[in-house]
């Protein structure tokens, strides 16, 4: 692997950039692997990388039906934070956050992780109570998250309107300074390049059509559009299509897939210094390195695998954005797109073993998967390598839906009274 650096860039430039090698070879499937990952998104590629890097399993294939990083990895708004309420969540996302730090150096690929701070707006007494609860819990869990007054919030994000006459006036905000954004494509490409360098095969345009199980019920490999590939360890990290893949193994999952929209504005000079989220008004925004305002919209109400941007969701989202940031009303929407998010009943992921021996799953991240990318990859790798979950992902088992030990962050923030 040619090391990336200002020097190599300079050297190659003199040669007219003719001698850059492929960042990852376009591999063809071998008959068998020690481990197969289904889905070449950030999570799947990360898992392959950590399998090879930390657990010494290098005979690994990542199988992707399209092109790597083309799913939710390349379609999300790249918000990174870890200020979750429950211990299980805080530990999971903070594990990821720690890995984000220094990821560029580890992968020798600039993932452009920008600690811009993630600010969540409180608009009513209930929000305040809920955020204070988060802040107290985060502090005792060693996760940074601080309370800002409306004025401090305005200072931190000048475009913010804190007018008391607003329909949803800003009463304050919770700020996680370590939170921020990263360049989504670079994350997928960085993991792909680093994994490939360690011997991982990245096989694109290869769709899984079946999961072969032996007489004992254990996994023997996967049927694909490019033939059968044998492996006793298969990890499924297929986001919106997880239900479809798991059904190939005869497993019904507590998942539903919904379209999630996002959009960007035309690029402008730096104007928006952080990430702002408002659950009450339903608006999420940051500004990319390129200058585009990156805006996350809501999910459509119905199950769908069509990645179509829905106008009504966009209308609602931009109304919300203009309500909180009235100076942007003349800004223009450049591009909208849709992803498919797989949502579990408690909106927390399922990461661990399945009832089928040798089959592992990483799914149900809903709208929050990107922030967990390095952590999910690492934990899926650990679980596949040891055939048992890491203490951090142990609570995220499938059985919790039977026993009732749900991890429901959204419910904890439930609005009523």
């Amino acid at each position: 692997m040619t090391r990336f650096s200002a020097f190599s860039l300079f050297a190659k430039a003199l040669g007219g950039h003719q001698s850059w090698p492929e960042q990852w070879p376009d591999a063809s499937p071998k008959p068998a692997y020690d481990a197969i990952i289904v889905g070449a998104g950030g999570h799947g590629l990360g898992a392959a990388y950590y399998l090879a890097k930390k657990y010494g399993i290098t005979n690994v294939a990542v199988i992707e039906k399209g092109w790597l990083g083309g799913g939710n990895t390349g379609r999300n708004t790249t918000i990174i934070r870890s200020n979750y309420l429950y211990d299980e969540s805080a530990h999971l996302y903070d594990h990821a956050l720690k890995l984000w730090d220094g990821l560029s150096q580890e992968l020798n690929y600039n993932t452009m992780y920008s600690k811009r701070g993630v600010m969540m707006l409180a608009h009513n007494v209930h929000d305040v109570q809920s955020f204070k609860r988060h802040i107290h819990a985060n502090r005792l869990n060693g996760v940074d998250n601080e309370w800002l007054t409306a004025e401090q919030a305005k200072e931190y994000c000048p475009p913010l309107s804190i007018s008391p006459d607003a329909r949803h006036p800003v009463l304050g905000a919770a700020l996680q300074r370590r939170g921020g954004t990263a360049r989504h494509d670079s994350v997928a490409w960085g993991y792909a390049r680093a994994a490939a360098a360690l011997g991982v095969d990245i096989i694109q345009n290869c769709a899984v059509t079946g999961i072969r199980r032996g007489a004992d019920g254990a996994v023997e490999g996967v049927e694909t559009t490019r033939g059968f590939i044998a492996s006793k360890r298969v990890g499924v990290s297929a986001a919106g299509h997880s239900s479809v893949i798991m059904q190939m193994a005869g497993l019904d999952f507590p998942l539903e897939s919904y379209p999630l929209q996002a959009l960007v504005s035309e690029p402008v000079k730096p104007v928006f210094p952080c990430v702002v989220m408002s659950n009450t008004v339903h608006a999420y925004m940051s500004q990319s390195d390129k200058g585009e305002l990156v805006i996350g919209a809501g999910t459509d109400q119905y199950v769908s695998y069509s990645q179509r941007g829905a106008l009504h969701i966009v209308e609602h989202t931009l109304a919300a954005i203009c309500e909180i940031f009235p100076i942007f009303r003349r800004m223009r929407m450049l591009r909208t797109w849709g992803g498919i998010v797989d949502v579990t009943p408690d909106r927390s992921p399922i990461l661990g073993k399945t009832p089928v021996p040798g089959l592992y799953v990483n799914c149900g991240w809903g709208t929050g998967g990107f922030k967990a990318t390095p952590g999910a990859g690492d934990l899926l790798a650990y679980t596949m390598a040891k055939d048992e979950p890491h203490p951090i992902n142990a609570p995220y088992n499938l059985d919790r839906f039977r026993t009732g030990r749900l991890i429901d962050e959204a419910a904890a923030a439930a609005v009523a009274h």
Binding site: H241, S243, V244, D252, F253, P254, L255, E256, S257, Y258, H282, G298, T299, D300, Q301, Y302, V303, S304, Y305, S306, R308, A310, L311, H312, I313, E315, H316, A319, D342, V343, P345, D346, F401, R402, T403
Partner: protein, 101 residues
């Protein structure tokens, strides 16, 4: 455990209400999850596994999906539909209680 619907919707899909016998705008309707999952007559008799199946397990297919909608801002009735989740096109809608299409 159904997702709360978005607060705010405008017209998108065109949906045929089997009660009003009219095509009406999606904004008048609320999605109500997978159809033909009847509540067990005697939940107490169910194993935890079976109860979980009823409560949480969904088919979530890519393709033909049986689902419920409610004409909330119309006649108010829940009804069933078959829709292709790959294209979002409705195949048919029919009244609650009618046999699975």
């Amino acid at each position: 455990m159904r997702r709360p619907p978005p607060l705010w919707r405008t017209e998108m899909l065109l949906i045929h209400c089997p009660y009003c016998e009219e095509q009406r705008a999606e904004i008048e309707f609320a999605y109500a999850g997978e159809a033909h999952i009847a509540r067990p007559p005697d939940p107490a008799a169910l194993s935890d596994e079976d109860w979980t199946q009823y409560l949480f397990i969904r088919s979530n297919p890519r393709g033909r999906h049986h689902e419920r909608w409610r004409h909330t801002h119309g006649c108010g009735r829940f009804f069933n539909a078959v829709r292709d989740t790959a294209t979002d096109k409705f195949e048919v809608t029919y009244k609650a209680g009618e046999l699975r299409r």
